[in-house]
Amino acid sequence: MNLQWLIPLLPLLSALLVQLFAARLGKRVAHLSVALGTLTVIVAAYQLVAYIGTDASPSWHSLGTMWGSLYVDPLSSIMSLVVAGISLIVHVYSIRYMTEEPGYPRFFLLLDLMTASILLMVAAGDLVTLLIAWHMIGIMLYFLLGQNTESWPSQRYAFWTFITYRLGDLPLVLAAVLLYQTYGAIDFPTLFSRIAADPNATIMGVPTAITAAFLVALSAFAKSAQFPLHTWLPYTMEGPTPVSALMHAGIVNAGGFIINRFAPVFVHSDGVLHMLFVVGLITALVGSVLMLTQNDIKKSLGYSTMGQMGFMVMECGLGAFSLAVFHLIAHGLFKGTMFLGSGSMIHEARKHDGVPHNPLHTFLVERKSASLKLPWLFIGLATLVVPLFILVIAHWFVAPDFFEKQGAIVLLFFGWITGVQVLFATHHLDANNPIRMMMMILLSFTLIVVGYTVIGHAFENFLYPEEAFRNALYHAAGIDKLTFDGLVFLLALIVVAGWFSSYLASREKSVFGDRFGAVRLTLYSLISREFYVADLYDRMAHWLLDASKRFNVWMRWY
């Protein structure tokens, strides 16, 4: 049996041992769980190193049954190590964090089962194994979020998560069924080779690849909290913090993973890639706006994750699949750390907020601009030119023909805009030496962009070694030149308008007077109620339940 099997089996064994020895060992069972988690990380690291070291090609390992197989490729190898690593950190953190909570062994049992499910998902070699793992993640998350069985809010939001995940499970089931009915295979190597051989196959007159890609995308939207299926994510903070960390660092990234797993299907589905871009864009915008309006640190982090997931899906929509994986790993590590540290921060803040009431506080907390320190025009020009220059140099360094790809241009554009915004925002900050501060910001920005580009490029070559396939993904994500230029122009206009309004807002007296006061108030109400999406779902659910009850009474419950 291949060593890869050990990776999902070790956490499963851990769960079994925790259940069997919980009564005898008490809280010490957690150490058993951590020990096996450590072993899982070692095996996953060994597998990844062995894969890279031996220059291996993807391999498929079956139990010799109709289903039950693993697919070892760069994606599963790297994801296995990431998931096992994050899970181990969460395990170690939970030993002390959960010690006062009831159901301590149960928590570790569920954590192990969740880890096993995710590890099985990332390495699944056939559709049925993938579906089982995909479903199991939702089930385990439901019970982990509802760890406090006595809290109604915990149960309520655990249910929101569960039902959204179920909504995401079912399109994947349908996609799997369509692929099986059309291509007659459930194992990935055979399935993907048959799709490559006949990408335009249809079922009942419907193109299978495009339909399956659409359904996989729907599934990814639910799992990765894309608008309007995002409402569960910010509210899952009722669950234990280690679960939030695991969820934001790993589980919510499942959408990005599944899109990458089905890359051989998406490469023949250009329209679906465009849809991914649009949905990701809306999600990133909504998530970012809602993040800025929250006064609860964990909820704000939740919306931040939503925004990041939007970016991740958007990257897939641009054909930059490997970048999405790189993004999800980087974001997972970053966000996991933030969640695990949020408890300490809250604890510290209760004693002393530690925030000096200087202009930085005025800018970030009170949302008031400090006085300008450098000429506005100079900063405006510097912020426009410098990030663009850095991005151009960075991408020229890794691949001179990069600019011929539309996806890359859009990414450059976003990088540029983000750089501009960061620089322009920080320009308002007070400092003893503003020129030195600007230089430091530019230096760090340069390091981040160059590092990101170089690593991203290397990562792309690792995940998708076939250049033709990489180009095909970018080609599928492309749009015609006129639309593309029009969109870039429109986006540039929106950004400049936003930038200009930001400048006007920073003036002591608005040039527009109170003309847009009502509009701003309405917008603020909408945002503060999170666009009423959750309320709408709540109303629909109540309507369905009321109607069901009335009908049952009328039918005398038969």
Binding site: V128, E150, W152, F162, L167, P171, W557
Partner: protein, 248 residues
């Protein structure tokens, strides 16, 4: 002849309103063993009748009627609070789906196994209902909440059985649903998935009505360790048999 046979089968692989007969009968029978037997035997009679009528079925009318019945009963399940009624309506919703396979397959063996695997969760729910009735006088969702802290063993068993009722992996009904979808067209796949989603919703409502919530103030005894392991062993055996059956 074939039409009347199919109409008769509509009582056993329930089609609304003929389905009311089964649900009324299940409600009238008080003996739990008889209830479980009824759950296992009733749909098998329907499969025999369908086989007699001739497989594969060529009546889109009956298949459409069955799909609507499945969705309808799944929706009604959302607000049912008596556990035995819940089991009955779940069975009604699940068995109705047998008609879809019947429209695609010439042999009845897969229909028999589908109906059998879909009967497992409702039958197990009857056993749960007995355990609850013995302790609280009624198996009524919301009557005593928060059993997770008060009676952890019974709660664990309830959770496992409700997960089976929702047709989640790795319970037999999950694989039965996959087989069903493999035999259905896109047109019928959507209502099937809707039915599946509604089962999940109804299942979580059931868990909230028994397992979760503030700790129940009760002196009722929990399941004994032997009974719990026996029950879990029974479910594990069913799962393993099904895995072998489905070719794992």
């Amino acid at each position: 002849m074939s039409f009347f046979l199919m109409l008769l089968a509509g009582f056993f692989l329930p089609l609304f309103p003929l389905s009311m007969v089964f649900n009324a009968l299940l409600g009238r029978i008080k003996n739990p063993i008889a209830q479980v037997l009824l759950i296992f035997i009733w749909p098998q009679i329907g499969v025999f009748l369908l086989a007699w009528a001739g497989l594969p079925l060529d009546s889109g009318f009956f298949v459409g009627w069955a799909v609507l019945t499945a969705v309808f009963y799944a929706w009604r399940l959302l607000t049912v609070r008596v556990l035995s009624q819940w089991a009955g309506m779940l069975a009604t919703s699940a068995w109705a789906l047998t008609w879809i396979i019947a429209a695609d397959l010439p042999a009845s063996s897969e229909l028999h196994s589908f109906a059998l695997w879909m009967s497992v969760a409702p039958a197990l729910l009857i056993f749960i209902a007995i355990a609850l009735q013995e302790r609280f006088g009624a198996a009524y969702s919301g009557l005593v909440v928060g059993l997770a802290r008060a009676l952890p063993r019974l709660s664990s068993v309830i959770v496992i059985v409700v997960l089976a009722a929702m047709a989640l992996p790795i319970f037999p009904s999950f694989f039965a649903m996959l087989v069903l979808l493999a035999h259905s067209s896109i047109l019928f796949a959507l209502p099937i998935l809707l039915t599946w989603l509604l089962w999940s919703w109804a299942g979580t409502r059931l868990l909230n009505g028994f397992v979760f919530g503030p700790r129940a103030e009760t002196d009722a005894a929990d399941l004994s360790s032997t009974t719990t392991w026996g029950f879990v062993g029974l479910i594990a055996a069913i799962v393993v048999i099904n895995l072998i059956w489905t070719g794992a």
